[in-house]
Symmetry: C2
Subunit: 576 residues, 2 copies
């Protein structure tokens, strides 16, 4: 990768530089952390002139490694006030790699409201006025872009929610056929993009740049070895069959499934959303329905799907665990089609399904609509796109909604809604939400994976375990790959050294590589402390420590002191 | 004063204790700061179980000192997340003093929503269920209380905004005739009272407690001396004639009058609101109109008024500078009757006029209604009381409104709206807003008083000057008197020592007394730092440093580094 592109959205100035030696060591989440710490004042207004939207390729995003091509998108989060990195699929990442872009950094904000497209190719970077895209839904926008710029381009855009700078707004990506909508969903980065007046980014890789692999042979053989392990891995096989919903039944059985605004850990209609059931429905309905699709080109895990209606017409692609739980059980909604439709609506107006589902749950608790009122929920999501007063409340997320309606049971930490694991039923994720540099975000070190090895209701080992998971997540998110690639490196951690050597010529031991995960967390933590959003100050919501969660009737009881100790725990150098 | 009363709003338990020696040294704001630091976890949720609503008499609130009887009401502020103390008139303070109450502390929150009255007399403290008061406007509530408990009682209540726990909600007090509505307005303390399920507090002083003055003769002679000085003081005389609006013309001439959401420092219709004009209108209209009324019984400054409509019927009492500016010029509204009506509506639904006026200004900038649309603004305030979606947005204050509508020009610091002095036109108040423990709050050390001695547009001396003013404000707010008493102590600072001696028998030099102001600030600052709301983290909004303010075309340019130095500046021991 040869270029870091900076676009000043006020002046229109474009600066392209070659990455320094030090730049090359950092990709994805790590590059974002470093850029934020070096360039963005931690106390700046997230939608103001001094925040930056950083789109960064992971270290191996430009290789054929399975799942590679995922993009990291980050900046100072409007929701948390701290660091944010979202890791997202779609077709833009690989294309950015092909035209030699390591990172794309949007700076400053325009003097007046604008609606512009940023166009990037091997030869050109330019801003194009696009008033015709103003207010357009996400699918409409992608369709329009495809018409204007041709089918096989990389596309990134925001919906009306991002344009309105609502804090639950995400950034959408798609695939070559416009079939899926993938989201850099969390933290309100869509609002940051909106604040910069950029409605869409088009990556044109008609002309590509030669890859600069250090040892293509070593890289290729390592890539093959990774695929081999993944193909033999039973978890990965299940993901292909059942998608991320594979875990839903287990989460419900364990009593950690957020239900009716986090008032219960079990939902009586959970079976409607189980991985096998959804796969069956997709199969039965046929039409455009598909299980086992890839979110980035070349992924061999293929945990995505296309979920069709009864006529076989697509409702949404892809239907995933977090979205289903927050929009379904957490809102008391038990019908699969309703939830798929809600998910689709969120994708269209441009909001994070987790934040939006949590916000609707809070509004339901306040009596705005009743739990279970699917039509009411759909109407609310549509209202986000229309910018009604209620839409603007919900579109600003769960905490904002709680404040509007005087609700105390708001499942959020550092301003950001909790994903689909109640911290009273999976205490490891409570540790994660409370201490993660990302706020309540399962992707930063999901303890669900250790459900069987660390007692989810006990206090023991939770902080240590979360620390290790967070380090690993910080590392993986820096590589441009998906967290689901982890079985390969768990089985053979030396593969990582080979990848670094093959791609860059770096000689790095596994321990050195893992250490970069620690360093990423340290940079992020430093930024957050300067921004005033450490776990010392922004704590687990009080109701989580007071209200026992049925059916296990446990509260979150890991002490604040123990939580704060997490930063003093050493990395385990042995395991991935 | 003999009692500190604690009421647990969850269990109903009442604990009454005699103040310790150390307790006796602290009154009003100082007592609140100390109680917060000792008893309230700084990171607690402001509307949760661990915050406390602290109603504290100042050290001389139970004497006949002019302006004494003002109450301090405080707690952790929902808006700022830090310390909050509001100093308020009305008839409750003196009555609390007469029944020997030094402080009244509301603790915890009820398990379910409740609407209760707290009744306090010399012999009894009890919670009374009052579902009939639920949702009642402030005047309705006072009228109902007067019917139930008799005319000559002390009354404190919240409006629907406080019941809904909206962050702009204040706490209302009145006088014996129910003529005036006085507000402990700022910081969202009405929401704290609402969270505790207390709609109203009734102070019954039918039976009183003997005063325990150490040297009643010395106290009385000092009180007389204070009155004498105030009666001869020209500023105090003007306040009686023209009320707090006396300064409006000067503020407009100086170009610091917040106009159209802080986009200008001069308003073309400012003359409509000048002190002399308002006094003339009151005189011409007659009826119940009055200038020069007192906000606490026995005040000799009497800067309040009763503002009548054309038929001589009361619109609002009292019409004051801050409310007029934020609801008038800041909303582009130039008609005096419109502004009086808006002020009245805010008083009725129970919101801070400053926060509400600033929020409406932000909404006007977003195009929700146009600048100058008085009927639209009235409708919005009514909607706060009705709890509509728009009402809930505005009722949560300026910053919340800015976030709902994606507006960047939000005149707030630490989450709280700026009062009626643009910090670009009066840089001393910029220093105050940025550094005060109270967030943007003029009462914490208003530099308007030094408009002629410190160049308001220059950088020199501003930080030093603000430091001295903040120390003095912290001291005065601890005494149970009004800031307007200051001419007496400026002229003869030894009067303070005599008051301490006469009331309590304390032998304290002026310097020792002044030092307590420093100590109050230090306690507050410590609490705020632990709560994560220091000036290091929560800064002056960026637009104040970027957008020049007409007509002087200055920006706020005192550096962050200089602002942070304020805590290292020594108290000037010579001057009051």
């Amino acid at each position: 990768m040869k270029r870091i592109i900076r676009v000043n959205t006020r002046t229109g100035e474009v600066i392209q530089t070659a990455p320094t030696e030090e730049d090359l060591k950092w990709g994805g989440r790590g590059f974002i952390a470093r850029t934020l710490l070096n360039e963005v004042p931690p106390t700046c207004e997230p939608l103001g002139r001094y925040n930056k939207l950083i789109i960064s390729l992971g270290l191996f995003a430009d290789t054929n490694l399975s799942t590679a091509g995922r993009l990291s998108i980050g900046g100072k989060s409007p929701l948390t006030g701290g660091v944010k990195e979202c890791n997202v699929g779609g077709n833009a990442g690989k294309r950015l790699g092909r035209i030699g872009v390591k990172a794309l950094i949007l700076e400053d904000i325009p003097e007046k409201d604008t609606t512009r497209i940023l166009y990037v190719s091997a030869d050109e970077v330019k801003l194009i006025d696009a008033p015709h895209l103003k207010g357009k839904l996400v699918d409409e926008t992608f369709e329009e872009l495809r018409k204007e710029f041709g089918e096989r381009k990389g596309f990134i855009c925001i919906g009306p929610a991002g344009e309105m700078k609502l804090y639950a707004a995400g950034i959408a990506l798609t695939d070559d056929r416009g079939e899926q909508v993938r989201y850099a969903a969390r933290g309100g980065l869509g609002a940051v993009m909106g604040s910069k007046g950029i409605k869409a980014i088009v990556i044109d890789d008609s002309k590509t740049v030669e890859p600069d692999y250090y040892d293509a042979e070593l890289l290729n053989s390592t890539v093959k070895e990774v695929v081999k392990i993944l193909q033999e891995d039973p978890k990965s096989q299940n993901r292909r069959k059942y998608g991320t919903l594979d875990i839903l039944e287990l989460a419900n059985q364990a009593g950690l499934l957020p239900t009716r605004n986090f008032s219960s850990g079990q939902f009586e209609l959970a079976a409607n959303f189980s991985g096998p059931r959804v796969a069956d429905v997709i199969k039965e309905r046929g039409g455009c329905g598909k299980s086992g699709t890839a979110c980035v080109p070349g992924c061999t895990i293929m945990c995505s799907n296309v979920f069709p209606d009864k006529e076989g017409k697509k409702i949404v692609a892809s239907l995933q665990y977090e979205s289903v739980v927050l929009l379904g059980p957490n809102c008391g909604i038990g019908d699969l089609d309703d939830v798929a439709e809600l998910n689709h609506l969120c994708n269209q107006v441009g909001v994070d399904t987790i934040e939006c589902g949590a916000a609707i749950g809070v509004a339901m608790e306040a009596g705005v609509i009743n739990f279970g009122d699917a039509e009411g929920a759909k109407d609310i999501v549509k209202q986000i796109g229309q910018g009604t007063y209620l839409g603007r409340i919900i579109g600003n997320g769960a905490e904002f909604t709680g404040r509007a309606f005087g609700v105390r049971r708001v499942p959020a930490v550092k301003g950001q809604a909790m994903p689909a694991y109640d911290p009273r039923g999976l205490k490891g994720n409570g540790v994660l939400y409370a201490t993660s540099t990302m706020g309540a975000d399962h992707t930063a070190g999901n303890a669900f994976e250790t459900l069987k090895t660390v007692n989810p209701l006990g206090k023991e080992k939770q902080v240590y375990n979360s620390r290790q998971l967070q380090i690993r997540a910080a590392l993986i998110d820096s590589l441009g790959v998906c967290l689901f690639i982890r079985p390969a490196f768990i089985k053979n951690r030396e593969l990582l050294s080979n990848l670094y050597k093959g791609r860059y010529g770096f000689d790095m031991s596994f321990e050195e590589i893992k250490r970069t995960g620690v360093e990423v967390l340290e940079m992020e933590r430093r930024f957050n402390e300067l921004a005033g959003v450490s776990e010392k100050i922004k704590r687990m919501p009080e109701f989580m420590r007071e209200e026992p969660l049925p059916p296990n009737n446990t509260v979150f009881d890991i002490s604040q002191e123990e939580l704060e100790e997490i930063w003093n725990i050493e990395m385990n150098p042995e395991t991935f």
